[in-house]
Symmetry: C2
Subunit: 144 residues, 2 copies
């Protein structure tokens, strides 16, 4: 499976994904970090997540994702209690809930890059399967 990856993403993630047979084509992406067809995945460490909450980047990123893609995911690696900075724990949880309820974004909080890479792989495989099924249905309809 070949996907687009933002060229500012780490080589570690590219390697992890490569070992799982997800090949990343690095290019500058305007929105998200990993893109395949109408699926967009934003990857964040817990510290990035908190920092982008504070400077307002998170909200604008998420709004762009919603506008441009059909299926949107935010995958966060790290622990809420392990965050740096002095952001209140309740604020982090409040923001997670806000993304999920208000923006209807799907979030998974994972522990490290390996778990996160595996989650990306499974998300993309699920969508590939759904896409193939839709294509097959389309074919049937056209064949009738």
């Amino acid at each position: 499976m070949l996907i687009d990856m933002d060229d500012r993403e780490t080589n570690v993630m590219m390697k992890e994904l490569g070992e799982m047979e997800i090949m990343c084509y690095p290019k500058r992406l305007k929105t998200g970090d990993y893109v395949w067809k109408d699926v967009c995945i934003e990857r964040k460490t817990m510290d990035d997540f908190c920092a982008s909450m504070i400077d307002g980047r998170l909200r604008s990123q998420v709004e762009r994702m919603k506008k441009e893609f059909k299926y949107n995911y935010v995958l966060v690696s790290g622990k809420i209690s392990g965050r740096k900075g002095d952001m209140n724990e309740n604020c982090v949880i409040g923001m997670l809930v806000s993304l999920v309820v208000k923006y209807n974004i799907k979030i998974l909080i994972l522990e490290d890059d390996r778990q996160l890479a595996y989650a990306i792989k499974r998300i993309l495989e699920r969508h590939e399967k759904m896409y193939d099924l839709e294509e097959m249905k389309g074919g049937e309809v056209n064949g009738k």
Copy 2:
């Protein structure tokens, strides 16, 4: 705010929620652990989550939630890497992804009951706000 809570839920959660001004009315719930109007929340520890994956309970619970409620959440407390039993880490991640992508269930993985109680509070407050807005809109339409 007064919500229904399954009477098999722990007193710890009831107390945590009570301190956050979410009053729980314990009764036997067929589906979910916390219910308010069309919002259903299932709470699981990471070990429950894994055990209910193995015995197939998780899938049937989720299917019932989808059938009976409009807004569904699964909140898991604990670490994937801290799970007991010999379930493979990738299986747990695969199941989380399956719930999110295939079943369109919203999941949050949190660290402990306090974080989880706060997430419940914020989810319910968001829905209460959305509900009030809808009511207001309905009122306007009827008033015209």
